[in-house]
């Protein structure tokens, strides 16, 4: 398709996908892999709920139950929702800022493959030695060698470490992209809210993941190399793990929710046919939430003996976060108010998000009261809280985003009826599953228990919760059917299939062409495409003449580097250090090759660019 002065590597089929550095394809890879792991995590959840539907059930053994809850949490957070978030960021952010790709296409691919192989490594554990079983938070000393000498926790340590590299690279990539590659006229205060949210999220990733890296290294040193970070008998400290983990872990949950906030802003404005209310305050609130997210980690540790002064400070800081979050909720409501509302599937998910997330937020404020938390801690009340925010909140937001941007990514629109069916099964199933868990917690049911006795008053509520989970499963199956049914249809989506697109991505064809924009557009205001539509233009004004477009070359190195890390991880888990050495050598050799081989990409010539649609 392209020709230049040097031979151009172009792959087709599977090799195209293994070597791609195109953000649009990488976005699809993230969505597929994230979706796959979401199904696995969902299966783990169903198995948990089946075990708990009645007292003294023996559907799974206690050990297996511990593996299920650990893997469910770890998979859902790190391998399902984070990749879907990265998928949406990849698919949408460059288009929203008028760029042709992200700042580091090679690193983008590397980020995907390291995430993927980290996830594979983690799940290999089920078949080779046993899955990790110390909870997704992997507290010591339960996770230490003394009490847990199988390979399970080592899989956790190495799998997450490898996946974490991918996340960190992604964060740096999107920060540099938004800072350096905006189209002419796209100032920071004209960025769409999803891009702002992605930007702040990327900052959080950059600052939070290194703490996790250190924690995992410390745990690995303790478990594999006889280190003493967490071993009290040699002067180590158990609480150190909790601090390091939550210094990462709390910002992590804001990493999860901020992109969903961005999606809600986009979906609510588009389907109210109205400008976002209070844009500047939305930006300010997003940044404030990001900043405060680093100041509250010890609210996960109120009962660990930090003392009243620390508890009070963290308690207040935590409650403060409700303020900017509230600003955002009110702004969404004021956007909807007076708008010309179109009830599409994405908007239903967004409208479901708002009250559900608020419920999760207010139970969060309840938990933030340290004295009260002594009662709530480690009970189902906490489980209910975080599922309300992460599932009722984040996952609803992701469903909204995926439905909304599906035509831009795949060139086909998901079936509206199936989409709405997914929504109703999911939201009703969700509330049935988790609303009741607040009361289970208040009645005293602890979390992470594999069964419970009869006669405690837990029976009916657990049964209802399990039924709710089944309904959620039906909703997810509806979604999968929707995808299958839609892929059979031809690619007929127009550039602006929802007809009310306001942001730049709707100005170009669906799916976007390889080079995104034939000519970089000139941005004349916030809601750039809407502004042009208001002035009667069908397209964006170009900011540059038509010319050859430089594209980066595909490469197999990211894939191979990730395989190398996977091999190294297995080597460390099974104490076969020669294998680790080989794996690391593979990765280092690829890094060497990448540095030394100068590949300047290729050009797409103007005659190959479709003239219509900027």
């Amino acid at each position: 398709m392209a020709h230049g002065s040097h031979a151009v590597k172009r792959y087709t089929g599977i090799m195209d996908w293994l070597t791609t550095v195109d953000h649009k394809k990488i976005g699809i890879l993230y969505l597929l892999a994230g979706g796959f792991f979401f199904l696995i995590g969902g299966l783990e959840a169903i198995m948990i709920r089946i075990q708990l539907w009645k007292p003294l059930n023996d559907f799974v053994s206690p050990d297996t139950f511990n593996e299920l809850i650990t893997m469910h949490g770890t998979t859902m957070i790190f391998l399902a929702v984070m990749p879907v978030i990265f998928g949406l960021m990849n698919a949408v952010v460059p288009l929203q800022i008028g760029a042709r790709d992200v700042a580091f296409p090679f690193l983008n691919a590397l980020g995907f493959w390291t995430f993927f192989f980290g996830g594979v490594l983690l799940n290999v554990s089920w078949f080779a030695g046993g899955a990790p079983d110390a909870g997704w938070t992997s507290y010591v000393p339960l996770a230490s060698k003394t009490f847990n000498d199988g390979p399970g926790v080592d899989y956790y340590v190495l799998g997450l470490q490898i996946s974490g590299i991918g996340s960190l690279l992604g964060g740096i990539n999107f920060l540099a992209t938004v800072i350096n590659m905006r189209a002419p006229g796209m100032s920071f205060m004209r960025l769409p809210m999803f891009t702002w949210a992605s930007f702040v999220t990327s900052m959080l990733i950059l600052l939070a993941f290194p703490a996790l890296t250190v924690g995992l290294v410390a745990l690995m040193f303790d478990r594999i190399f006889e280190g003493n970070f967490f071993d009290p008998s040699a002067g180590g400290n158990i609480m150190l793990w909790e601090h390091i983990f939550w210094i990462f872990g709390h910002p992590e949950v804001y990493i999860l929710i901020l992109p969903a906030f961005g999606v809600i802003s986009e979906v609510v404005t588009t389907f109210s046919r109205k400008r976002l209310f209070g844009y500047s305050s939305m930006v300010f609130a997003t940044v404030l939430i990001g900043f405060l997210g680093f100041m509250v980690w010890a609210h996960h540790m109120f009962t660990s003996g930090l003392g009243p002064v620390a508890n009070a400070l963290f308690s207040i800081a935590t409650m403060l976060i409700a303020v900017p979050t509230g600003i955002k909720v009110f702004n969404w409501l004021f956007t909807l108010w007076g708008g010309s509302i179109k009830f599409t599937a994405p908007l239903l998910f967004a409208i479901g998000f708002i009250p559900t997330f608020v419920m999760g937020g207010v139970t969060g404020v309840m938990l933030a009261a340290a004295p009260a938390d002594y009662q709530y801690h480690d009970s189902y009340f906490v489980v209910a809280h975080f599922h309300y925010t992460i599932v009722g909140g984040l996952v609803s937001g992701l469903f909204a985003g995926v439905h909304y941007w599906w035509p831009k990514i795949f060139g086909r629109q998901l079936n509206e009826t199936l989409g709405k069916t997914t929504f109703w099964f999911f939201i009703i199933g969700f509330h049935l599953t988790f609303l009741i868990q607040h009361f289970l917690g208040l009645l005293g049911m602890p979390r992470r228990i594999f069964t419970y006795l009869d006669g405690l008053g837990f029976n009916e509520m657990n049964l209802i919760s399990t039924i709710g989970a089944m309904l959620m499963g039906v909703g997810v199956i509806c979604f999968v059917i929707n995808i299958i049914v839609t892929s059979a249809k031809p690619k007929h989506a127009t550039n602006d299939p929802w007809e009310d697109g306001r942001t730049l991505e709707w100005a170009i064809a669906s799916p976007a062409p390889e080079y995104n924009f034939a000519q970089l557009p000139l941005i004349r205001g916030y809601d750039a495409y809407w502004k042009e539509k208001r002035e009667g233009n069908k397209e964006m004004q170009p900011a540059e003449p038509l010319g050859p477009i430089h594209m980066p070359s595909p490469s197999i190195l990211p894939f191979i580097m990730s395989v190398g890390l996977f091999i190294a991880g297995l080597g460390f888990i099974f104490h076969q250090y020669v294998v680790s050495g080989i794996g690391l050598a593979i990765t280092l050799i690829c890094m060497f090759l990448r540095s030394v081989i100068e590949d300047h990409g290729y050009h797409i010539e103007p005659d190959e660019i479709h003239a219509k649609g900027v």
Partner: protein, 205 residues
Amino acid sequence: MSGHSHADGVLPHEPEKATLEGRNKVLGFWLFLGGETVLFGTLFSAFIALRDQVNGGPTAHELFSLTVVAIATLVLLTSSLTSVFAIQAMHRNKPKEMVNWLVVTILLGLVFLGLEIFEFVEYAHEGHTFAASAFSTSFYSLVGFHGGHVAFGVLWISLLIWQVLRRGLTVVTAPKIYIAGMYWHFIDVVWVFIFTVVYLMGKVG
């Protein structure tokens, strides 16, 4: 892409910033250093929490030899200066001078590593091994991680020297040299905190 830019033989002033790719690399690397700050900060926090837990072994006060540390500090500080001179030579489009300064930089880096290895071996003989106590594990993790960064830097700069010798100083190789220089300064900055918090404060008690 680089072919067009120096077809006329003139390397632009600040060649690392002359292309979008170069500017992206420099910005991306600053951001990466922000993340590395948190990484080392976490290691420092862990060290501070565990510095008194010697498990019956030698304490920092008994153990540390300030002479070796002082020499190592001098060596690393000087290497940071020579890396500045290398970048200045790059900006004046003097690749041979740049390479010379880079060679001095990595030689000093190797001296630093040699001193550190010598130091660690001494400590190990006195009972301060990785597995001895929480203090020792966190010491070797923090200081060892830094040393690992120095070693990686030495390898990286050597590779870049080879590339410049083969391909010359271009708008493609210049950003790589620039960010390697940033990296080298950063590990010197981290060392300032290590000698202060680990060695000097350890010696004081």
